[in-house]
């Protein structure tokens, strides 16, 4: 899922400084699952902003809503009426949601309430780890399912580097060297020969080096009401 983190409240307070009526809108997708922008966080952020503003003698009114998703136009339609009731919107969705809302409602002042951080997993409560960088040309069939782009500090495709010591990466003792893990994993799977094969050169164009990326499935493009 996409992992995000709430922005510092002082930063959000700066964004909404000119306004008295603001909607805080969450998203029940990834940001709810990673506890950055679901119903609970909407309530907390709204309460914190109101408290801060009240103490500054500039009370803030908030409307709190959480949409099913913010990355699909149909779920953003409540913004049509919401924008008449408030002067600005703080979205706790990932950057995708904020961008789409800004595309669709050009007269709406929408601001990001979270920093969109990475694609990650949730190995235990309250903890998220980066696993993939969305490079668009997945090569983890060669690496035992472990991504050297997201999980190696140097994004090496031919690790481990000289900094790999006792299975740990040189950047921090608590970070496993993913190339060490790749070796161990492939050995366990009986696939060590993958490391001696010559891989085709990785295509970095789908990693974003060719401008904003798009995906099209023509077979779905029928009677498209979006």
């Amino acid at each position: 899922m996409i992992i995000a983190e709430r922005k510092p409240l002082t930063r959000i307070l700066q964004m909404i400084a000119p306004f008295e009526r603001v909607a805080i809108i969450g998203c029940r997708g990834c940001v709810a699952i990673c506890s950055a922008g679901g119903d609970r966080e909407v309530e907390t952020v709204a309460a914190a902003l109101r408290l801060a503003r009240k103490r500054k003698g500039r009370p803030l009114q908030t409307i709190e809503e959480t949409f099913v998703r913010q990355c699909d136009p149909e779920y953003l339609t409540p913004l049509e009426t919401l924008k008449e009731k408030v002067e600005a919107v703080v979205s706790l969705a990932c950057g995708v949601g904020v961008n789409l809302a800004a595309d669709l409602y050009p007269d709406l002042k929408i601001y990001p309430g979270v920093d969109t951080s990475f694609y990650g997993s949730n190995p235990s409560l309250g903890q998220w780890e980066e696993k993939c960088r969305g490079c668009g040309d997945c090569i983890i069939d060669f690496t035992g399912g472990l991504c050297p782009i997201a999980r190696c500090a140097k994004n090496l495709l031919n690790g481990p580097c000289g900094g790999s010591q006792g299975g740990k990466c040189e950047i921090r003792p608590d970070v496993p060297c993913v190339w060490h893990l790749i070796y161990e994993r492939l050995k366990k799977r009986g696939e060590l020969e993958k490391l001696t094969q010559i891989w085709p050169a990785k295509n970095w164009i789908p990693a974003g080096h060719g401008g904003p990326r798009q995906r099209v499935r023509p077979d779905l493009q029928f009677n498209n009401k979006k």
């Binding site: 510092p8 409240l9 002082t10 307070l13 609970r40 309530e43 907390t44 709204a46 309460a47 914190a48 109101r50 408290l51 801060a52 009240k54 103490r55």
Partner: protein, 131 residues
């Protein structure tokens, strides 16, 4: 009377003390009970401050004796999170206090409320209402 308000957020099981038991504390004490202290959200704490409480005491069962096993430990985590938020917005984190109270011990409960008031004395000049 200081003119201050102190909000106490606690669970139904901790004790049956009422605001009258707090008569010695020179502040208005408001008690809000939850089904479990583990149900007290960060937003509940912030909303109590927003509703003009100068300090909030979150009271849960003594560690290891929580009716719902770990509710008060959860509450402690929420208190930590709420304190961080206060720091971010320039308020004193000590305005939020956590107490683990032996079940049905009104004395300990009142004592925790008194201590919360005393912490406020360290923060605010006597008699000043900042909200």
């Amino acid at each position: 009377m200081s003119g201050w308000k102190i909000a106490i957020l606690c669970c139904h099981y901790t004790n049956e003390a009422s605001a009258e038991d707090m008569a010695d504390i020179p502040a208005r004490v408001e008690i809000k009970r939850f089904s479990c202290s583990g149900r007290i959200e960060v937003s509940d704490i912030l909303k109590a401050l927003e509703a003009d409480a100068e300090a909030v005491l979150v009271a849960g069962c003594e560690k290891g004796s929580c009716h719902n096993h770990s509710g008060s430990l959860r509450a402690e985590k929420r208190v930590e999170a709420a304190r961080k938020i206060l720091e971010e917005i320039g308020m004193e984190p000590e305005r939020i206090q956590m107490a683990f109270i032996p079940r049905l011990d009104t004395g300990a409960f009142v004592m925790a409320a008194k201590e919360t008031f005393e912490r406020l004395l360290d923060i605010l000049p006597k008699g000043e209402i900042t909200s």
